[in-house]
Symmetry: C2
Subunit: 359 residues, 2 copies
Amino acid sequence: MDSDRRRRPTLDTVAAAVGVSRATVSNAYNRPDQLSSSLRERILETARTLGYAGPDPVARSLATRSSAAVGFMLPQGLSGAFSDPALSIVLDGLAQTVDGHDHSLVLMPGDATGGPRPSIVSRAQADVMVAYSLPDSAPALDAVATRGLPLVVIDQPELPDTARVEVQDHAGCTAAATHLLDLGHRRFGILTFALRPDGVSGPVSHERRSDVPFRVSRDRLGGYLDTLEKAGVKPDNVPVWEARGSDRELGRLGARWLLTRTPRPSALLCTSDQLAFGALQAARDLTLTVPGDLSVVGFDDVPEAAYSDPPLTTVRQPLADKGRRAGELALKLLAGARPPRPTRLGVSLVERASTAPRK
Amino acid sequence: MDSDRRRRPTLDTVAAAVGVSRATVSNAYNRPDQLSSSLRERILETARTLGYAGPDPVARSLATRSSAAVGFMLPQGLSGAFSDPALSIVLDGLAQTVDGHDHSLVLMPGDATGGPRPSIVSRAQADVMVAYSLPDSAPALDAVATRGLPLVVIDQPELPDTARVEVQDHAGCTAAATHLLDLGHRRFGILTFALRPDGVSGPVSHERRSDVPFRVSRDRLGGYLDTLEKAGVKPDNVPVWEARGSDRELGRLGARWLLTRTPRPSALLCTSDQLAFGALQAARDLTLTVPGDLSVVGFDDVPEAAYSDPPLTTVRQPLADKGRRAGELALKLLAGARPPRPTRLGVSLVERASTAPRK
DNA sequence: TGGTGTTGCTGAAGCGCTTCAGTCATGCTG
DNA sequence: CAGCATGACTGAAGCGCTTCAGCAACACCA
């Protein structure tokens, strides 16, 4: 029996206690200019003594037809997702923007399908959704569409009637690969995070390289491979390892495999800094010196890249900005704006000490 | 003009179209046994063609007086919080539990006060809150109380009428310190994460060591210091560095300071694995070998601890369990249960290669 | 003096849904 | 055939709030 949890006070309770109408109490909270400040004080005071904590958020949402919340859809579970600081930074940027406008953030972690379950999406109390790097045509995206909610996608292909922010992944990878080619490297290995949401780690077969549903993986892998091919390095001669997540330890595993191929690559191209850190580790394990025996490049430029051993050459993308922009877009859509043209954020190669001319 | 965003269909729209009552349509979604399956099919089909995505979550919440969401309150912003994988793991455990029961997760990041703003809390659409390591008497906690929401706290002191899960921090630290004492160490340094939510990093003065509002920091620091003192090592002779967050780089910074004291500590006690990883890095920077010149212990036993260089001796706590338990408790409270007695999770010292006898 | 604002408050209509007490056939039992 | 379950559906109340037209009172101005 929860007899102790007796009915909480409502607007009416307070109104009755003060002897005014319910509308006036509502105004005391939402439109202070609509009543005398003395009355307002009295109302607030009475509310306090009654233990009334302010208008019920759900009822308010129903009446205003707005829940003041943005939903954030992830391609995977939380622990996997957050092993990459890049996501934390993006999400933090988003949270700050959203939080600053008194909106809250509803997290929708994904499962093996590469996104949250549709049932979760259709029951989520949010009035705008942000999709972060979901695979093309994830079921969650349909669920958003049938609910008719505004949507902003990050790192995903254009969708009808949707705002979008993304980064020049392909160009970034081209720059990184070119940098290594310029240094004289000819033997490469590629370390990428998931190409598909199936949780598989391992060497990437030829057919698995095509029809990659994660846009970011597709573009980064493509960016590396295309650039190498143009320079005369056959893609078939470039071993590619797919890690099912973007974390250090998975990176180390993959790099170990890549570095034990014959002939051994003199340069490793990674699709994230975390993977690159793992690669540095793997090199140490194998007593290879970086950049003496091996050059390594990452992607993201997370803060730690400047402090790793050695400091990492990597492609910088404006992570916090990405989150902030997404947040702003979400708020804009909420305000009724039409999706503007995609926000494209620039990238730049940051040369540090993990790359050097081929010996 | 959002003339294109014309009124979405509601239960009534569908009911009218099918020619049944609204209650029946509602039943089609919520109580399939209350109507013939043929009619149900017809209703669902009509709904589909009308573009009706199912009962509106907000309205449903109002009617059922339950929003099927759990709020998660953090002591800091997201980027800071997630730089420690420990949080990701806890949150993942919680998310899985909660998600499995079709509840969603509302994230409430904290600010400089060491918790989310009260206004955020009182407007959050959640019907149970989980507080993660907020400082004692954070304003957010009062906000939860005045809303009368059930609360489960993780790593925080007991609060009236509140469920609680926590870990034997003090005991864990005692074990770690004892281990080092047994190895013959007498010169220690301590590396702790925030003692207060004020964002300060630096050496910890004597007075700052008392009245620490973060329970975990208080217990871990206390556990280390008490144990050392009992063994005859004066707390005043133990330099303590406070990092404002639990991340590697901040750990490196602090460890560098600790390792340049005279006399140099032969052992470093850290309050988290992330800080310990930073310490390993700092040792490398100073060309000290671990565990030859320096022993290091961490706390948490995150997966990476087994793979660091050298593998880290640390206090294991069951992180995923912690999240899962918190989730279960939240769901139980939601179901009307009274807060059970606190769930106390055990810890154990995991000896790896970062500690060795004093030279 | 009459017109024109202001200020401060209220009544009532929703927001879109769930739920519960019925109602009405229909089939079954003895 | 009376009596009684059973199954399928409905009407209406209510969840707690916002909002807007409207009203009374009063002040101000020419």
